[in-house]
Symmetry: C2
Subunit: 407 residues, 2 copies
Amino acid sequence: MALIVQKYGGTSVGTIERIHRVADRVARTQGEGHQVVVVLSAMSGETDRLLKLAHEVTGTPDERELDMLLSTGERVTIALLAMELRGRGLNARSFTGRQVGIITDSAHTKARIARVTADRIKEALNEGVIPVVAGFQGINERSDVTTLGRGGSDLSAVALAAALKADRCVIFTDVDGVYTADPNIVPAAKRIDKIAYEEMLEMASLGAKVLQTRSVEFAAKFNVPVEVNSSFTEGKGTLVTKEDKDMEAVAVAGVTGDRNQAKITIVGVPDKPGIAGRIFGPVAEAHINVDMIIQNIGQAALTDLSFTVPRADLKKAEPLIQRVAKDIEAKSVSITEAIAKVSLIGVGMRSHSGVAAKMFEVLSREGINIMMISTSEIKISCVIEEKYLELAMRSLHTAFDLDQTQA
Amino acid sequence: MALIVQKYGGTSVGTIERIHRVADRVARTQGEGHQVVVVLSAMSGETDRLLKLAHEVTGTPDERELDMLLSTGERVTIALLAMELRGRGLNARSFTGRQVGIITDSAHTKARIARVTADRIKEALNEGVIPVVAGFQGINERSDVTTLGRGGSDLSAVALAAALKADRCVIFTDVDGVYTADPNIVPAAKRIDKIAYEEMLEMASLGAKVLQTRSVEFAAKFNVPVEVNSSFTEGKGTLVTKEDKDMEAVAVAGVTGDRNQAKITIVGVPDKPGIAGRIFGPVAEAHINVDMIIQNIGQAALTDLSFTVPRADLKKAEPLIQRVAKDIEAKSVSITEAIAKVSLIGVGMRSHSGVAAKMFEVLSREGINIMMISTSEIKISCVIEEKYLELAMRSLHTAFDLDQTQA
């Protein structure tokens, strides 16, 4: 008998028919002799409906009130599923974030979990009850309702699994696992059976939208085995877990692409000490995340400085950089939006050498110019022209032996 | 400066535009120098939408889960109104039933209030905050969400007004007060300026749907002055308050009509001791509310026994009574659905004699046969043929000088 936390996302509980299917799966898991804790998101579309109401009321809704509003979505689904399970004669009971003791800080709309007591869940499990818990929400020390930000239900599930020392936390979603690349771009992409927390973190933060980043960090910290699986099909999913020998045997676990970047180049920057601080200080103050930075030594003590920012922040960044460039007496500023970042990820890079060299060679063979490079222990990223992104991903996927073998 | 609890019903917060208007009124009341506590219902239609979802899930939804589900409706409106007020620069904050300490028993879907702490409201008021409170809901001692039954938001408002020792509790609804009769039936009906709790209770339980009965009982018990007013118009409403000299000066305060009754007659009941118990015992066990009972002495120690039950319970009552009639060897059972009850209500009846006599005379003059009569200190009711109900109400309304004087 195992203790399993099952989390179902918004599309998995989007209709009454789908809630029936969730109930089927919960009943089956219990029938197999396991203890089940269910964590639910709001019905898909509900959060957007509520947000729309809020924005019809006022332009900038108060965040504490937004949390009061948005936290209703999960309460609806947990009540409906608990009813459904009880209607089948199963002893289920719904619990809010407060009732299971998900205590957060007071950063409304993006609260961080401080601790999880889970007392009522433990009690319920001892009584043979299936707890059905509202994801995405908690309360702060004042007992005000907070929410954990988009994707926060994943975090609720992982945090509960950690608090309960569950054997596994299964995230049911609309895809059946984590793939070696986005199958929409790389048709030969294949599902990964097992992936390390660190790899998953890189995948998540680089644009693979399967698991929310903070929930992966949390799972890694408390060593919670997380399985990503589809609520619509039967079959194996992807297990996110501690790094092991199998994973290290492979140099590259996956290829990701990210179009949400823009490149800013300041041309003709006087090469003086302290100049970087004068440029990036104001950028940081404006809460703009700089990803890569490259400095080219030019002629006569002038350098060109290029860096990437999220494309969404470009409007905010551009006037700021124009002002800074003037202040430091640089020559000009140029902006390139049509860039993309292609990355290789794998814990195996620690032991496999030559991955970077091979990557550059593959891109070069395809006639793709590399504009910027950054590396970490388990990742290599290249900024390229956006139009080459699909080609780059497919070529790298093949070159690193990730293509699906035909059955 | 007064402390005023304002309760807005579902139609008053049914759209974003109407929520704006509620905010106007709250702002104006505060602007006049008063402290305001706002209590809200769910947007009209929302409770029915949620109930429909529940019934799509399962035939007989669990009541604890129903409360979890239904309590979301008020959370949406309080969040929206608090946002709106804050958007205008007013310091408002939403609170759930739990957060303001509305503690109930565990009778889910129809919980009774055990006590109200109101600590966070008092604190908020001291800080100059406008508390916006979810009506209809509380928590039990286990900290599970409960709801107070249909119309429960009125009760929330009155209970909070009592706990806060508020100067007044204003119930904003879609009518501008309590009328001497239903204006749809009696066009000459006029708004009552002031009505005693007891009168209001009789009006409410006899079918005037303005205020929920339990909230009037609660107001009477704690002597909370309750004003019923329209949220759509400006002007005076009806004040529900302690009995006073003005009220006693008038014999009849209002006329009500009730069609939700059916008459059952058991013909030829042997006139033996204990027979009433054998009839009404099973009826009570089936939770059927018997209103009036009349016994006619017939010939040869046989009596006819007539009584009224809610028309909705007739299906349940009829087979039961047929069985009982057989057991006690009565002759037959006859059912009359087309009856109605017309009533006169007024605390003035205590000091005015002759009200009953005049009522009988008026009905007789119109050719209306009286089938049953019941009286209390402040009420006289007659059961008549349903088709005469409107005529009876209008005639009595005129005869007891209740018709609106033309301006």
